[in-house]
Structure formats: C-alpha cells, structure tokens
Subunit: 501 residues, 2 copies
C-alpha cells in the first residue's frame, strides 16, 4: 500500500473515533439523564486518551514523512496534498505539546469551570482570578511549546484560524473599529426609535418547537441527515456529513432566541452537510476555519434571516403560529424589531452592528494577557473602560462584564476573533453572491433558497478545509478579508432602518 | 502499582470504551437520522477495533498472569479474584479466536442480515440457506477454536451463560418439556375460554407513552439514571449503572406490547442499576448471565406484572387513561385477558406457559446444526414437525416458522436457551422471595415494590457477575436450577385461571 493510502486509512480511523467522541458530547447535552455525568466523564476521557495516543503515534509521523515524499511536487489543489498538510499540522502541534502540559490543562480547566460558574453567580471576579492566572500561564507555556514568529497569540489562534496572524487581525480590526463606533453613534444620534418589545411577548414554547423545525427545513436543512433538539446553549455538531445535528433553545418571552438561533445553527449545519460525500471519514471534511464556519451561520441568520425579503416571506407563517403575539403586528414592524440596534452588555445578545465591538474588546484583552502586558487583577477595570469607549455603556457588574463568557475558564484563548471574522467573511461572500445571483433577494422573498445554497456548496462547502481561510477567501472573492465590505453592508441596511442617509 | 491495580485500570479503560460503543448503538436505534447508517457503521467499527486491540493486548495477558500470582489462594468471594476470573475468561476466549475468523464472521453476518430480511418477507427459506450454511460453518469453527469438553454447543453458549453445559440444559429441558406439553393440553381440554380481545381495542399511542413512563417509575425505575424511548424492538442498554436506558414500542391495537414490554425492560434495567456504585467501570458490573438477566425481566413482567394483585393495583390507572377501551372492563376480565394461554406461531408473542416450548425447539435444532446432525435444508420440515409435537400447531409459512427470529442471521447460536433459563430462575427466586417477604402479594396490591426490589438488590444485583450463574443460584436458593419450580408456579397460576384443579 502506498504511504498516502495507508495514511488516509489511519486518519479515517481517528476521524471516526472523533465522531464517536462527539456523539457522547451530543448525548450529554441533549439526552443524558442527569445522574450519569460522572460515568460520561470517564467514557469521554477513555475515548480521548485513545484518540490522543493514535494522534501522536510515531508510526503516524513516519507515514506523514513518507507520504510527503510521495506527494513531492503536488500543489495544494491536490486533495491528497491538502490532506497531508492538515495531517502534518495536527501531528506537529500534538507532538509539540508535552503530555504533562496537556494533562495539567485538562485538570485546571475542569476545576476552573465550577469556580467561574460561582464567581459569575456571586459577581466575584477575585474568586476566579487564581484560576485565570493558572490558565493564562498554561496558555503562555503552550504558545512557547508550539512556537510563533511575531506574537505568542498567533500560536493559540492558529488551530482555530489556520494561517491567520494577530498582525493581520490587528490591521482588520484597526479599520473596522472606528467605523463601527461611528455607526453606533450615528444610530444613537438619529433619534429614530426601533422597538423590539414585540419579540418579548408570549410565544408558547411548544409552538416555537414546531415553528423552528419547520423553519430550518424550509431553508434547506435535511432531517434525513440530521435532527434538531433542545439544549442549554444552541450548537451544531457533526458525526460526518451524513449526520449533522443542531440544537436550539426556547424562552417564551424571547422569540429571536429560538428562531434566529435555529437559522444560525442551520448555517453551520449546511456547511458540514455540504462536504463532498467521498470525504466522509477524511480530515478534509471540516470547515476551513472557525471564521469561515461562523460566516455560514451568520449569513443564514443575518444576511438571509434578518433581511426584509426573508421576513416578508416568513412573517405570515409566524403570525399564523402566534396569533396572540403577532396578530396586531405588520411585516415592517417585525422587520424593524428584528433589527433593533442597541449597545448592550452581553455579547451573545448583541445586534449585528455592535457584535464585533464586543469581540474586539476581548481580542485586545487576550493579546495582552498572553503577552503578559495586561495585569489580570485589573481586567474588570480595563473591560469596563473599553465598554465605555466602544459602546458607550458600562457594565453594572462583573457578572455582566468580564465574567460573562465561558471561554477563559475552559482555557480557550485565541478563539474570540473568529466570531468577528465570520461576520466579515459573510459580508464579503454576500457581495459576491449578489453579483452571481442578481435576483437573490427576490428569490428569498418567495422562500427560494436553492440557488444560494448551491452557490455556497460549490464555492465554500465543497472545499472543506482543503485551503487555509486566507487562501479560500482569495480564491472565492479575489482578495483577502476586507472589513469595509461588512461596514458597507451594515451602512446600507441600518442606514435605511435608522434613516441615516 | 500492583498488577491487580494495574489490571483494574486497564480493564476500566476497556469497559468505558464499551460504554461508548453502546451509546453509539442506542443512538442508532433511538435517535439517529435515517441517512446516517453508513457513517455509524464506520464509527462503530473503529471503536470496535480499538476495543478488540486492547482486549487482546499481550500486556493485558501478562498482567492477568501477574495478578493471578498476587491473588493466589484468594477465593471467588474476593472481588479482585472474581474480577480476575472474568478478565481471564474474556482474554482467553478473545485470544483463541483468530482475527481472520472474527473478521469473516462480521462480513458474513452483516450481509446475511439483509438476505434474511428478504427471505422472511418473501417466505423463501431457500434464499437464506446459503447464508445460513456459511454462518453455521463459522460457528462450528469458532467452537473448535475455543474448545469444549462434551459438545461444541457448550463453547458457543459459554459467553452467554458462563459455566453452563448443554448436558445440564438437556437435563433441565428434559424434565420441563413433558410438563409444559401436558399443561398446554390440559388448558386446551379444560374448555375454559379466556378472551384477550380487550387487549386489541384502540389504545391511543400518545397515551400509551405517558402511561408506560409513569408505570416504570412506579415500579422503581429511576429517571435520574435512565430514560425510556421508542424503538423498533424493546431493549435495555447500560452505560454503567449510572445510565441505564430502556425502550419500548407502541401499537395502538396491542396494549401488552408496550405495558408488559416496559415492565420487562425495567426488570433488566433494575438489575443494571443495582450493581454496587463502586463497581462503575469494573468488569464485575454485569449480569451473572443472560439467563439471570432474563430472570429479572421476566419476574417484573410476569410474576409481578401479570399477577392478579398487580392488576388489582394498577388496573384503575389504566382504566382512567383509556376510558373508551376499558370503561366496560373489570379487574378480573383484564387479569384473565393478560393471562390468556394460546399456542401460537411467534415466540415473542408467546404466553408464559408456551414460551419455553418455543425455546426448546430452537435449542434442539441449534445443537444439531452445530454438531452437524441436522441437515440445514431440512430445517423447515423439522421446525414444523416439532411445532406440531410441542404446541399442536403447524406454521402456515416459513416466515412465521423457521425464518421468524433474527438470531441466526446475526451469527448468534447458543443464546436461545438463556430465555427459558430466565423463566426457570425467576420462578425459583420467586419461591424464595415469597418466604422472605410473606406479605409480598399484599404489598404489590398496594403498589409497594420496595421490599421486593431491596431483596433483589441484596441477593442478586449486588453480586453483578462475580459468580457464575450456577454458583449464584445455589448461593441464593441452595440448589441448582430446578425446572419444577417454574412448573409449580405455572400450575398454580394457570390452574386457577383455567379451573384445572
């Protein structure tokens, strides 16, 4: 057998075990009885150990070397060469992180989660500080082990956004920040009031369930290869492109919390469902990056879901499902309510305009934490000062400020920027799509999504993680990430909503 | 670390991976979208391969040897010694079966399933014959590899019923058969008609769901460590005693199909939930045998569920849930309908009296198939002749005769006898329990099951698979399996129903 073939087979084995691991997680978050957590932790750890051992197996390293010789001269357009690049990146990274450090990270973060939960509950940042200090130290060590050229943050961001450097993020965010701050101010100063009270009326949960199942089917989610369940936090998980599952959540008095969350997760799912079928079991069957993944979810949630045309199409269905809440509402009122811009404290509730500002704040803090230039004890002050600078509001508590996100307690640093990059990529792709499908908005107003989905399949999904995100965005749009596309999209949409022009 | 401790840790790792494997199966049968089967097969196979490799690892064998020295002199009452016995049995068996044969078995049976499904659908035994021939050959080879003293069937039965030999089964069934045949005849000749038409009325499925959830909770099933779902075939599966799940099925016109199936699966589940908590992850946390497992399910289904006292307690609830179907029915009518004895073609629908006769027929055929004394092409004739001899009826088709069970197509031979042994063990335990809890039937008539469950916990569940089933039945009742206990139980109950005395 050729080394390439052998390597593929070994990697498939690991990929399938990864799917099994993901089934355990999905089950835990959607089906598992409450008393089973202790056993599930052991089951997941056992599988994790197997996957880790196989992923750092010397034989795998040798196969990667041999496959490299076999593929010498091939370009990244060759599937095998791309597969090899992914395999080599994963293997090299796994080998660079000492097992002791990996074990320490698991130990510290599993304890820190509980500490963070309590700290947030009690609005007590100080009680979380010692955990955070340990976590940051571990991440700093990890960055040193993995290595980097310019900034240690690059080493942490790399698995989430392959090839992206913080210097590039700095440049992108540097252009974006003043534009968003200005737009937020203009909206505030416009004097136009957009009322989202409609969204907080009573929407019976049982009906929300039926509505969201129907909704995700309408936009192309395939229930023969997926299902939608309820979970504490909406997510999408994939056990190959034959089985991609989404979750949503229901709050009687917050309709967007299920409707737009379901569209968001469907965007992720359509990406995973769209990888070539012959890649089932291949390492190439993954998103190009978290940023690209988020571009798909945000596009279906915002560019599609919160567009006037989609709401024209879909509002009658909602009105029929919720006659008490929506009987006296018209399409335009609902459209405006779905696009209310209001600086707020909590990232996950932020509107399209302010969202990236929440991200930039976190990115700047994280970079400083990893570089050692931000004193951790002072995080609450810095957080609040930046909130005032970017959004014009100051958190009433650390619970609604620096303690709001789960990421740091889980040892995840380097991840936040991908959320904002997703918005930027979505806008950049959308501009391209509107050229390719000139009547797209008309199609959307008629509930037709096939052309859009086909375009995404062909131009984005079909490539899986064959290309780095930077390569892929250039391949599709001819240029690197350009934050001004997002700004233009926002200005056009919200300029109209708030009468800015 | 001592070899014993080291061995335990290695075995736990394998046990937890086995749980993960079981989660994949449960998900497949209850939650998985239909289009995911192909990927799930790969995921399960990948995990299976890991488990097989770990289970046949030379190091494991060495540890078992070393632990044997450390535990030299300990008796089987010692948990570690019992753990060692289980480990050694599993390891020795796994090592004796050549990988090529195991792979061949998986290949042949996975193809045979489809062939069997079609053969049954088309009532075409001949089309299944070539597959069956291959399967029987493989099982014969397996028996030779594993080794046996008296009969090759022993080698196949051993993993299901540790330590049990076909000579013992012959003796037990030899006593039981004429007694059951006689009882069936007496019931037929009694002229008493028991009508189960009641059970076939309209029972709305949604209500059946609610009723069975409530029912299993009443008899002690703990939803904080389990859940009940719908599946094509009722089953119970365990991912440690912290997470034991059951399924049932619903047919609008067959109430016992959900109600008694749920009690049956709850019996299995209570067993798995009852292993000592410190055995989570231990190889000792399993049933003593499939026969013992079946004794628990049959006891809750029959000795409890189909008793007059239980029905006195529970019928009013059922009547309230199904006023249309049961409004004109009284307790006694329902009790009799639940205990209608009628020789029938299909094993899984058989009543308490005729059930074991279905099993004995299969057992005799299987023994002959493995020994090579039964010509496979003649199976339909032999089947039909035995049906006439034991039950006085002849199948109208092979689909309702020799082709009815899934077992052979899956390569499972040696399993059937455990179903009947379960009935016998249940009756034998029940006699003992009635001595220990003299007012048990009174308790049942009041819906009190705690004393019964506690007795089972202490005397059966707490031992897991520490003892062989033959050791355990002696430990609990002072004697080996005695089929006359089952006969006495049946004579008492059905003698009264059919006015035989």
């Amino acid at each position: 057998m050729s080394a390439v073939k052998n390597l593929k087979s070994k990697l498939s084995h690991i990929v399938y075990l990864g799917h099994a691991r993901a089934v355990l997680d999905w089950d835990q978050q959607t089906q598992m009885p409450p008393g089973a957590a202790e056993a599930r932790a052991e089951q997941s750890a056992a599988l994790e150990k197997v996957i880790h051992n196989l992923s750092t197996d010397r034989e795998l390293g040798e196969l990667i070397e041999q496959a490299g010789s076999e593929l010498n001269g091939a370009t990244i357009d060759n599937d095998d060469k791309a597969m090899l690049r992914v395999a080599k990146r994963n293997f090299d990274r796994a080998m660079k992180i000492p097992e002791a450090l990996a074990v320490e990270e698991v130990r510290v973060t599993s304890l820190a989660h509980e500490v963070w939960v309590n700290a947030r509950k009690n609005n007590d940042f100080k009680s979380f500080l010692p955990s955070l200090q340990k976590i940051v130290e571990i991440q700093q060590k990890k960055a040193e082990c993995v290595g980097y050229e310019d900034h240690p943050y690059d080493a942490l961001m790399d698995p989430f956004e392959p090839g992206m450097k913080s210097a590039e993020v700095d440049e992108i965010f540097g252009k974006l920040r003043p534009e968003l701050v200005r737009l937020v101010r203009e909206i505030k100063d416009s004097g136009v009031k957009v009322d989202d009270e409609i969204m907080k009326r009573s929407y019976p949960v049982e009906t929300q369930k039926k509505v969201t199942d129907d909704l995700v089917r309408r936009i192309g989610y395939d229930f023969s290869h997926g299902r939608q369940d309820q979970a504490a936090h909406p997510f999408c998980t994939s056990f190959s492109s034959l089985d991609v599952r989404i979750t949503t959540r229901f709050n009687e008095h917050h309709l967007p919390g299920s409707v737009f969350a379901s569209m968001h997760e469907t965007g992720h799912a359509l990406y995973e469902l769209g990888f070539p079928r012959e890649w089932v079991g291949s390492v190439l069957a993954g998103g190009a990056s978290l940023g690209f993944h988020e571009s798909q979810s945000r596009m279906w949630e915002n560019q599609v879901g919160r567009s006037r045309e989609f709401i024209q199409y879909y509002f009658p269905t909602l009105q029929k499902a919720f006659p008490d809440a929506l009987g006296d509402v018209n399409v335009e009122q609902f459209y405006r309510a779905a696009n209310c811009v209001k600086p707020s404290l909590i990232r996950v509730e932020a509107d399209e305009v302010t969202y990236a500002l929440h991200i930039m704040l976190r990115y700047e803090l994280e970079k400083g934490m990893i570089a050692g230039t931000v004193e951790l004890a002072k995080l609450p002050e810095i957080w609040n000062a930046k909130m005032e600078e970017y959004l014009g509001i100051v958190p009433d508590s650390d619970a609604n400020g620096v303690l709001q996100d789960v990421h740091w307690s889980a040892g995840i640093l380097g991840y936040f920027p991908t959320y904002a990059l997703g918005n930027l990529i979505a806008a950049q792709l959308w501009e391209k799509i509107l050229v390719a499908i000139p009547d797209l908005y008309d199609q959307i107003s008629r509930g037709e999504f096939t052309d859009l989905l086909n375009w995404l399949r062909k131009n984005v999904h079909a490539h899986g993680c064959k290309y780095f995100p930077g390569e892929l965005i250039k391949k599709i749009t001819g240029q690197p990430i350009d934050p001004m596309k997002h700004v233009a999209y926002l200005r056009k949409k919200f300029g109209e909503v708030y009468g800015l022009n």
